[in-house]
Amino acid sequence: MTSDVVTPLLSVADLRVAFRQGPEWVPAVAGVSFEIGKGECFALVGESGSGKSVTALSVLRLLPQNGRIQAGRVVLDGADVFAVSERDMGSIRGGKIGIVFQDPMTSLNPVLTIGQQIAETLMLHRHLKGAALRRRSMELLEQVGLPHPDRHLSEYPHQLSGGMRQRVMIALALAGEPALLIADEPTTALDVTLQAQVLDLLRRLRKETGMALWLITHDFGTVAEVADRIAVMRAGVLVETSGPEFFDGPQHVYSRELLNAMPRLGACLQRESPEEERSFPGQPLLEVEDFKVYYPVRQGVFQRTVDHVRAVDGVTFRVERGETLALVGESGCGKTTLGKALLNLIPATAGEVRLDGVSISNATLGVRHKAQAELQIVFQDPYSSMNPRMIVGDILEEGLRAQRPRMAPAERRERIETLLLAVGLPVSARSRYPHEFSGGQRQRLCIARALAVEPRLIVCDEPTSALDVSVQAQVIRLLKELQDRHGLSYLFITHDLAVVSELADRVAVMHSGKMVEMGPTRQVLFNPKNAYTRRLLDALPSLHKGHGRRVGP
């Protein structure tokens, strides 16, 4: 605990921020006080809407139009941040405080080269010119670990991958040689292997430059890797601030809940039935053989197909009745494409799909229409997966209307009400609009919609990755419950190995369109055969690996 000894670099006292909604002011931050010492790594943890990003934006005085700082004092290096003029604020932002945002795709200007964007900051804050400017730019890119700094300087953002862009963002934030770097969910939008790399980078840079790091995140895994001090935020208030001993036993009930809700890799070891495999008698429900989805690459005047992007390249697997098969892989590996192609949302190039032993890939329209009811999908984003112009009742009824047009309205209504209760929502939800529900509730509605037509297999395309940790746990519990009750099978597509451990019977790992490893969950997660699987597992923050350790009350 070094932070108590050194004088604080940044101190925030009783910060209160409110947003205007219609005629009212709704508090977002309700009296937050904390200090960040020189060279310290401070982590602000909380679920979405807890006010953690708003706190950072207030310190930088970058609140949106409808936000207002109502009270509080922010002192940076002895100077009152709220007292300086807007012009001097410019030298604080970027100069004394650097910031890295969550999304590397939108934080860089697409029409300027990387070199131009770095040069802009350097000229502004360090007044460099000519050769010195170029040398410093190269140094920065080297520092954040980009392989070819001289080449990257003249490249545009779209020529770099997501991880590289995040590195450029960090280089940009470092250009002003700030004393404090604010990283707002710096790894959330990245794949797990990239996450590990970016965290490593942040850790190394902190050691090299001696700057303080203020990490804002919802992920305890990230926090446990780097933070010296941890503050947990909920509904605009800090409920707990503590050192690394936090992970041995948080004081506050809410922190404990959050920590316990986090999915862990060891969960599969704790299953009630410890035998290696559940047995699935009879014919497999879904058989997929040598399945391929190619996208043509067209070129020239006549749009001749010159090559193919092999999104899914010869995949064979089966899903048993009542089984959960998890499909794991990094973004771009083809897992979502595979899921959508199975449902015929994307045309498949080759291969055979058999449902209950009946081929549906080359079937007549009638057979396919019937099969459609048996295969359903739940999407990742609970916000875009329901038509905002329809009430929930109509949304849920849609499948029934299409599949069973002769069903009586009263019967249909009754079914919808049963479904709503089954996913843990009140019957009154029927006549409300999707926007009136929270993310987790919407995901429940999406599950209910899929269930309405009594499917036997549901493709779950990252159904939990847009949700907060505690809500995530609830949705997973619901999925398990429904599986037990209805004998459903799931094809669970995800990038999160920890979630897989909670839910899956078997795991298939995908890489560049191919399946590199498939087997029982315990075997794949704890005894991987494939090098790529091992790499994925290694990249996981150590807290997630914590073999099912639960923090006692």
């Binding site: 875009s384 997966s385 038509n387 009430i391």
Partner: protein, 464 residues
């Protein structure tokens, strides 16, 4: 038995359709919400009141009755047998009061001097008295100003009285109970309800007073002067309202089906359907609009010449030309909206709720109708509201270059066209142009303000 011309029928049908849409909207929560925010906007509500006043005049001017109904007295402007509109009936006094030629607003004498023979045989070079304007005055020099003031005050009183009656009706409709009536008046005065009652009632007051004063003065004077052949400019301006409103609305009706169907088809089916439709509108867009309209109007005129029997009366001829203009304007202006809808559909079809519907086995027609169309509604509404004013202005421009409405149709474009020569006269005849300008401005400005409010409320990028 009312007589209806094709444009009347279409216009009234359109209004019926709009009313039906309004009823539907009120029942849909997601549509009611943005409208509520439009209703909270003071400028939008003031605009709406003015637009409704214009609309009322246009409706009155679209319901025709045979001329014989209003007696043999009205043999002036409309030839015997030509049906006249309810507005004409109301304005019989000023419609029939036709002078010889130009006269200034509220004048009692003509605009230009004339050689007249006096009773004693002398010939005098003087301003002749008008046939109708101020004919009741024995000694115009002395009485003119007093008479104007007296009539204006009378009109003001009548306007206030009319407003009072209107207020009582509104209050009764809104409050629905006796003591609610007082509460309503109090809250309207303090402007403490969400709806900007005070602004709306003041706008109504302004309109009532203006109507009262104009009505009182126009009994004996030409309030806005007279035109080249002595026709009353106020009457002309009022009649032009129907032309402007009709072009603004009917053109939209011609635009919408094309833009909607083609835009959605192109966006949803992509591939060759998209190619064909895109080709169509890029081609259409690269031909100058005025050229297309001019060509189409020529074709239409030669068609009318060939089928003379079907266009016997002046009214049917002018009406057909107006309708043709609406259609042609519609044909040339659907591309912008179509492009917008295509882009939005391209985005929507990839959205997860559309994919979920496909997985559920919902038919394509149903997907288009239930998932795509309602989510395009805000775009349609915004563009219709924005287009209205530009179409009203387009009519003025087209009539100015003589490819607009029939010269016998009263329209602001024709008035401005006529003013070309008037501006060159000495002393200058300014009132035709000024009236056309003021009337058009008073329609287009509220239309734009209202469209802005609608856009703010419905555009998802602007809310929040």
């Amino acid at each position: 038995m009312p007589v209806l011309l094709p444009t009347d029928v279409l216009f009234l049908l359109l209004l019926l359709g709009l009313s039906a849409l309004l009823v539907y909207t009120v029942r849909q929560e997601h549509l009611r919400r943005p409208w509520r925010s439009v209703m909270r906007s003071r400028s939008a509500m003031i605009s709406l009141v003015i637009l409704l006043a214009y609309l009322l005049i246009a409706i009155l001017d679209s319901i025709r009755v045979p001329a014989s109904v209003n007696g043999p007295g009205s043999s002036g402007a409309a030839p015997i047998g030509e049906p006249v509109t309810l507005l004409d009936v109301g304005l019989t006094a000023i419609r029939d009061a036709q002078e010889k030629t130009y006269s200034a607003p509220l004048a009692v004498v003509a605009h230009a001097r004339e050689m007249t023979r006096q009773a004693d045989g002398r010939e005098v070079w003087a301003y002749p008295r008008l046939q109708y304007g101020g004919r009741h005055l024995a000694d115009p020099d002395r009485e003119h100003a007093d008479d104007l003031l007296r009539r204006a005050l009378l009109g003001l009183a009548a306007g206030l009285a009319g407003w009072g009656v209107l207020m009582v009706f509104i209050a009764l409709a809104v409050a629905r109970s006796p003591n609610g009536f007082v509460d309503f008046l109090r809250s309207a005065c303090h402007s403490d309800s969400e709806f900007p009652w005070r602004a709306v009632l003041l706008t109504l007051l302004l309109i009532c007073v203006m109507a009262g004063v104009l009505a009182a003065l126009s009994q004996e004077y030409h309030v806005l002067g007279t035109g080249k052949v002595g026709e009353d400019v106020l009457y002309q301006s009022l009649k032009s309202i129907r032309t402007g409103v009709l072009i603004g609305t009917l053109t939209t009706v011609a635009t919408l089906p094309l833009a909607l169907v083609l835009g959605i088809l192109a966006g949803y089916y992509r591939g060759w359907v998209d190619d064909v439709i895109q080709y169509l509108y890029t081609t259409l867009n690269s031909v100058p609009g005025v050229l297309l309209i001019a060509a189409a109007m020529l074709v239409m005129q030669s068609y009318m010449a060939k089928h003379e029997a079907e266009f016997a009366s002046l009214a049917t001829r002018a009406d057909f030309r107006l309708l043709a203009l609406c259609l042609i304007l519609g044909m040339t202006s659907w591309t912008g909206l179509c492009r917008l809808l295509r882009a939005e559909t391209l985005k929507l079809r990839e959205l997860e709720y559309v994919q979920a519907a496909r997985v559920l086995g919902v038919s394509q027609g149903m997907i288009l109708f239930r998932h795509i169309l309602p989510n395009l509604f805000h775009l349609v509404l915004i563009s219709v509201a924005l287009d209205f004013s530009s179409l009203v202005l387009a009519e003025a421009v087209l009539s100015y270059v003589n490819i607009g409405v029939d010269p016998s149709t009263e329209s602001w474009g024709n008035m401005i066209n006529g003013a070309r020569l008037e501006m060159a006269r000495e002393p200058v005849v300014w009132w035709s142009l000024a009236s056309a300008f003021v009337f058009m401005f008073a329609l287009v400005l509220p239309a734009n303000l209202f469209a802005d409010a609608v856009r703010d409320a419905f555009d998802p990028r602007r809310s929040g």
